[in-house]
Symmetry: C2
Subunit: 343 residues, 2 copies
């Protein structure tokens, strides 16, 4: 059997934002049921603080990209049952739990343009409500009645937590290698994208090659997504100074742009600069612009963008085993949507 | 079929500490394998901080009461397989994860006589390593290959988190009713005792009535355990001022001794006292002794002890469906061990 050609990258197609809207529209009915299920299952008769905090985060209007992947993957495999709705809600609960804990760990004050739960309530509530949502996700996936799905999501959860611990340990450490960086972003981001896509195929009982293709698609899309995020924290490849730029820098996070720029430092002055601002976190007013200049001059920004685009192409190519359909095209074009944030 | 008589409370039997040693000895070989599995599965190739922190807590010499319940319950039902070891390790991982998060939430400095992980490392690491251990527990239970076991442990996890959030919300609130207190300690303690015992019966494919008996045993034992703990925080029913006494008081936690004493306050002065020290947390040097005096005079301490003993009797009685055996006797006598901490 000859596999249909992989969907080519659209050269002059519709705007990437439209691609995301198209994908949303294709799973809109399912997503309505996911939202209803999320609203029902975040309830707690005895601890009203749980739905208060969850609602604050869930209703802040995230894109719901991860549950959309689960729904789209299941439908792409012709699934006609009900369990994909359970699994999509599961994936969103896992994601929400990690956001609550991330904001405690990063001491963040803003998320999705609103004050974080740890700021509005307190760290304690964020930790415990995160635990509750993680447990709820687990209850939901048990209802989907598939040990294979449970194994995939349990593994993803462990890899996520491991990635977060790695991130703590590598912060402010310039000796972090590229391998460690890639493993870390696989954990903190790509593992859930991969699992979200894969379980859609598993629940649909698709052929193994297609399940593997969906996993590869989610994995590559997640890697592209996180590298783009890390690049945007330095204003993108054009390094335009906008709002939110520099958060990672101020925390001394060792992301790909920093890693590449430090490795390509042209002289001792540049090397000393990176050690001072990232490892010792001694930063003055002119340091962020100087860091951006070093990143631009060393080609670190361009190289980071190239890596993101390579993962994006990998994600597109992974869809090759599926015959052409509006859903396959939308999933392929959503890759552009993720990378389009750089423009 | 006539059920064998419930094991009677030993009037002049061996000391309760011996009962616990006897139970430990009866499952010692299994427990060795649980410890080995815990050591293996706490490892993380890429994030060495995970086993460092876990080892700090796991090797501090907790009693391992919860995994012992799982092993003993499975053996009591004649189980000859291997999965009880997986489930016992699962239960200990869930427990360890909740301890890590509890110490962050309570800002504790000591646990099992050693400085807490949040003090030795930081809150961030405790949150994330707790998440990792919770995910690991989930992976382990998936290996046990039973959707029913997964449902029981998923439900227990959600109830635990809900109980912890309830505890946050009821702290410093004297209007907390006894119902709310009992629901809260069911969540924070008894739910895992119940699940730990129940899954031993489920994995052994025991009769439903025996599975239900094991669940009831764990549930009542857990309730007794937590009420004893709450009473010990006021020095036990004799209210002897020893070390560690008064932690709950200083935090303004609304536990059973406080609840009962405040409800039985003889006059406005006593009522005002409880509002000041628990709700407003304005405490001076003489307030703890005065609180103890009010608790003793109102009968709150004696009543709290009576409640703990009633749950203990309930736990013993729950074992009635099982024929007499050294394991049944040890489980029955361990109830005394839990309550003996009051003497």
């Amino acid at each position: 059997m000859t596999a249909p050609a992989a969907p080519a990258r659209s050269q002059a197609g519709p705007a990437p934002q439209d691609a995301f809207s198209r994908l949303q529209a294709l799973v809109a009915e399912d997503m309505g049921r996911v939202n209803h299920l999320i609203a029902t299952r975040m309830a707690s008769e005895h601890a009203p603080r749980i739905p208060e905090i969850t609602r604050h985060l869930v209703e802040a209007g995230g894109k719901r990209l991860r549950p959309i992947l689960t729904l789209a993957a299941a439908r792409l495999c012709g699934y006609e049952g009900e369990h994909h709705v359970l699994l999509a809600a599961t994936v969103e609960f896992i994601h929400t739990a990690t956001l609550l804990h991330d904001d405690v760990v990063d001491e963040s004050a803003q998320r999705r343009g609103r004050p974080t739960a740890n700021l509005l309530w307190d760290n304690k509530s964020s930790v415990l409500v995160g635990d509750f949502l993680f447990s709820r996700s687990f209850q939901l996936m048990v209802e989907a009645d598939s040990l294979r799905v449970l194994a995939i999501l349990a593994d993803a959860s462990a890899v996520i937590a491991e990635g977060e611990v790695m991130q703590l340990a590598t912060a402010n450490d310039l000796s972090t290698g590229e391998d460690a960086y890639l493993r870390m972003i696989h954990g903190k981001t790509a593992a859930l994208f991969a699992a979200a896509s894969e379980v859609g195929g598993v629940i649909a009982e698709a052929e193994e090659s297609r399940i593997e293709a969906l996993r590869a698609y989610g994995q590559a899309l997640g890697m592209a997504f996180q590298i783009v995020d890390d690049l945007l924290d330095y204003g993108g490849s054009s390094a335009a100074l906008g709002k939110n730029v520099g958060d990672d820098f101020r925390e001394g996070k060792v992301t790909l742009p920093v890693l590449l720029a430090a490795a390509a430092a042209p002289d001792d002055a540049a090397r000393d600069f990176w050690v001072r601002v990232i490892e010792r976190r001694e930063q003055g007013e002119d340091d962020l612009p100087h860091a951006l200049e070093l990143m631009r001059a060393s080609g670190a920004l361009a190289e980071t963008e190239a890596r993101a685009r390579a993962y994006a192409e990998e994600a597109r190519a992974a869809l090759a085993p599926f015959p052409a359909s509006p859903l396959r095209e939308a999933l392929a074009d959503v890759v552009d949507f993720v990378v389009s944030r750089l423009n």
